[in-house]
Assembly symmetry: C2
Homo-oligomer: 408 residues x 2
């Protein structure tokens, strides 16, 4: 579990501020829910992989509760509860802390924060385009250059079409997705073993595995056919990304499947260009989650964007700070006799909407200005003469200018 | 546990934004830590009352962990861990979610958010003044009028002096504080019973109880003596509050003791003027907490300000909104053929730093403008003629004006 000291909050605020401003600029509305959820809800929709990682426990009255591992089940629960009265499409965002009980590695911690963007109730690929645009706008707001990452995208519906063309029955597809998602992560033999357990013949198994070697949409089209709805959808998405000015950020990559079982259509993951880190963000379309939590059918698209990987990338790239330095005035005084004047001035400056930090005890000028140069952009130091004259000097520490300000 | 729908986030953001802006304006630095803490840390410093309310559980490896009930033990842990390198005084704030396992009543929920302001390493009463000023600045930023609340303040050191003058030994004082804090909450007989169990004689017991009837600082001075350091400290605080322009917000009230065992000096609680709600915020000076968590001695003052009570008060007072309405442009289009133009325009507007929400499917003008009037401040609707002419009309929905903007 992480502690955030003020020095750590600089990076965290850079990420959170960019998330918030990009989501707001795109018209997403904020929502939130408690980090404690019912274990049953989390289990009902998560893939097997996640269930084993849920931070579950019992409360004092014996109820099974858990710290959420992801936000999507909670989102689905909240939308389903008010599906009759909410204006569709729902277009919501949150920054949610999520927990996973797993071995800690680079890019993975027991807890992390995650921007969640979801659009519920809109079937068209305009939903995918809108969440992708917003995540990329957030990366740009953080100062991450476009060359630093790519969004790899595919369509589970395409994989389904391809499996059907290989005579793999639809009922085996969900299991095949989970297995194929593991390509490159576990040995080929183990994946084939899983596929066989899912009911695939040896032949279908090998064919399914070879699908992962498709490199271009054109190659996929040769198998799926020129009229493939899944490919048309991918092309439509690329056209929209062009309109958004982010077409070059995205590539087709059939190996993107996503580990979670609830995706049904377009899926995507963003990676750093050098391939040194885990996924920056990921998501896709999920059509059956609302009904799984008791709601009416609704097509939805979602995106999760964690703070850990992007934080590591920002630090590795040594990106310059993006936030304009805020004015911060340090106010100090020489003797107890000037404390009242320093306090009144500080309250006056704050009342004007300025940031003013007050030294809480008398200080020598040298020590005061040494501290000011490290912690502030401007400084006022009040001595006996200042109180007598009714004014003090406000020094701009960067510009090395100063001007009189009246004591109040 | 609470869900926050977008409509609920309006009030929550009003509170959180005011907390953040007031803390920042006063030069407090942000920090944060995980909501999961070691149970042992939380127990080591909390009063008995809180220990029974801690949301405790075991993780999968059998460690005793808990959802924090308050932030102060975590703050003390973090400061103690870096006490040698941190610049003193530490002046930090956080907005922390806290959990208490207790019966839910008005103003009390199983979880709430709490602004925490702490200053560690400054003994003078300037610390108390600074946290009180900042909490009041936050109330003002929320639009809460000064007449709506009062800060009641006292000094546990004064109560100690008074108990000593009644020949109650110092070792009984902590127990006496806890008991006296319950005045008005449980019957007098029960409090006297607790005091007797704490070792007070019947006589001392009655005397201690009567201390709670002291109404003014002058009355207290008659018992404690004219040279009482505790009273001098209260007067000094009032003088500083005068300098901050918040003197009228505070009154002396000897009955303010605070339930937590770690306070050692000035203590305070803010209540609505009509006395209809629980405390808005509370806090005080704690001098022994750093050593309790393994740190070096350091005097500290802290303040906790929850979101539940102030939210109820803002709603009960029906205070007008304080946030200026942000411009929000709704972009729509008539047919699929105008989707690209609408998407490009939306990305362009967002790139200019404006908030632009895009309709994700074609719409009739009437339905579009009806929605825009409910959800936006401005609107652009793109039809075939607009694409042909290369420009569209941006309508300001409040001013009922419009102007051409080029399509991109």
């Amino acid at each position: 579990m992480r502690d955030f000291y003020p020095e750590d909050m600089v990076l965290r605020n850079r990420i959170f501020d960019a998330w918030r401003s990009a989501a707001t600029a795109s018209g997403f509305e904020p929502y939130d829910a408690c980090v404690v959820e019912s274990l049953e809800l989390l289990k009902r929709k998560a893939g097997e992989e996640i269930v084993n990682q849920i931070y579950a426990f019992q409360d004092k009255s014996g109820r099974d509760i858990a710290l959420r591992a992801e936000m999507t089940p909670t989102l689905a629960r909240m939308v389903a509860a008010r599906q009759g009265s909410l204006r569709m499409p729902v277009k919501w965002y949150t920054i949610a802390q999520c927990f996973r009980y797993e071995r800690m590695t680079r890019g993975r911690k027991r807890e992390h924060y995650q921007l969640n963007l979801d659009i519920v109730g809109e079937e068209s690929v305009a939903g995918e385009a809108e969440v992708l645009y917003t995540a990329i706008a957030a990366l740009r707001a953080m100062g991450v250059p476009d060359e630093a990452y790519k969004v790899r995208l595919s369509n589970r519906a395409l994989l389904s079409e391809l499996l059907l063309s290989l005579h793999v029955e639809e009922k085996f597809h969900a299991g095949a997705f989970i297995a194929l998602d593991k390509k490159g992560k576990i040995p080929r033999e183990e994946i084939e073993q899983i596929l066989r357990e899912e009911g695939l013949t040896d032949e279908a198994c090998a064919a399914a595995f070879n699908l992962m070697d498709i490199r271009t949409l054109e190659e996929a089209e040769q198998i799926a056919g020129a009229d493939s709805p899944a490919i048309r959808r991918i092309r439509e998405l690329f056209d929209l990304l062009e309109c958004y000015g982010i077409r070059d950020q995205a590539v087709f990559d059939i190996s993107v499947v996503r580990g979670l079982s609830y995706y049904t259509g377009i899926v995507f993951e963003a990676f750093d260009t050098k391939g040194e880190f885990r996924a920056i963000f990921g998501g896709g379309r999920y059509d059956n989650l609302l009904t799984a939590v008791g709601g009416k059918p609704a097509s939805a698209v979602g995106l999760g964007f964690g703070d850990v990987v992007i934080g590591e990338i920002i630090q590795a790239l040594q990106l310059p700070d993006v936030r304009p330095q805020q004015e911060k005035i340090l106010v100090g005084y020489m003797h107890d006799e000037q404390r009242a004047a320093a306090t009144r001035l500080t309250a006056h400056l704050r009342g004007e909407g300025r940031i003013a930090d007050l030294r809480l005890r008398p200080q020598k000028p040298k020590a005061f200005f040494s501290l000011a140069s490290e912690t502030a952009t401007a400084a006022v130091f009040i001595g006996p003469d200042d109180v007598a004259s009714g004014k003090a000097r406000l020094k701009d520490l960067a510009a090395r200018t100063e001007r009189d300000i009246p004591l109040v």
